[in-house]
Assembly symmetry: C2
């Protein structure tokens, strides 16, 4: 089983400041989250349908929803959430959690 946290950031007013903060501050905070199995970031995002692509697509994976929730509630999780609030000032975000269901693999 895999559960995923997906964060989608719109294009920031100041992409350089956003990218630097994300890379230098937010990624290190995310890496410390307990039980984290995988942390990926989308590069060279290009739209296919609908509105333009998101500026940044980040996905963090845990084995179970309980472990994800424990990570979010931990001191490391609260530090990452505080920094996510700062990032949200730089670019609108839409984030969500879900269970990953395999359709083929």
């Amino acid at each position: 089983m895999t559960v995923r946290f997906l964060a989608l950031y719109e294009t920031p007013t100041d992409p350089d400041t956003f990218d630097r903060h994300y890379r230098e501050v937010h990624v290190p905070l995310g890496r410390r989250l307990p039980g984290l199995r995988r942390y990926t970031v989308g590069r060279n995002v290009a739209a296919v349908r609908g509105e333009g692509p998101y500026h940044l697509v980040a996905e963090l994976e845990w084995d179970t929803m309980d472990e994800l929730r424990a990570a979010f509630a931990s001191p490391e999780g609260r530090a990452a959430a505080d920094d996510a609030a700062r990032l949200q000032e730089l670019a609108p975000v839409r984030s969500m959690i879900f269970v990953v269901e395999e359709s083929v693999g």
Copy 2:
């Protein structure tokens, strides 16, 4: 290397019709795409930040961007794109492609 196609569907006016069409028509079309490595769908999606969660989060993976582009250009890809246009009548979609960059894992 992994490249991903990410499709995010807003809540449909008629979720039952959308879900049935997605499951019975669109997933089988997607599974036929040449070179597809993984096809996952998000279940029990719950919002964390920003607007409500998307109704459906679908992710399809290939090894390279060339293989993804070849799959989209194939007869199977055109059939899936035609059906995606039908799905878009049932729920607004925002879809994109990107290279998956590992931050940890």
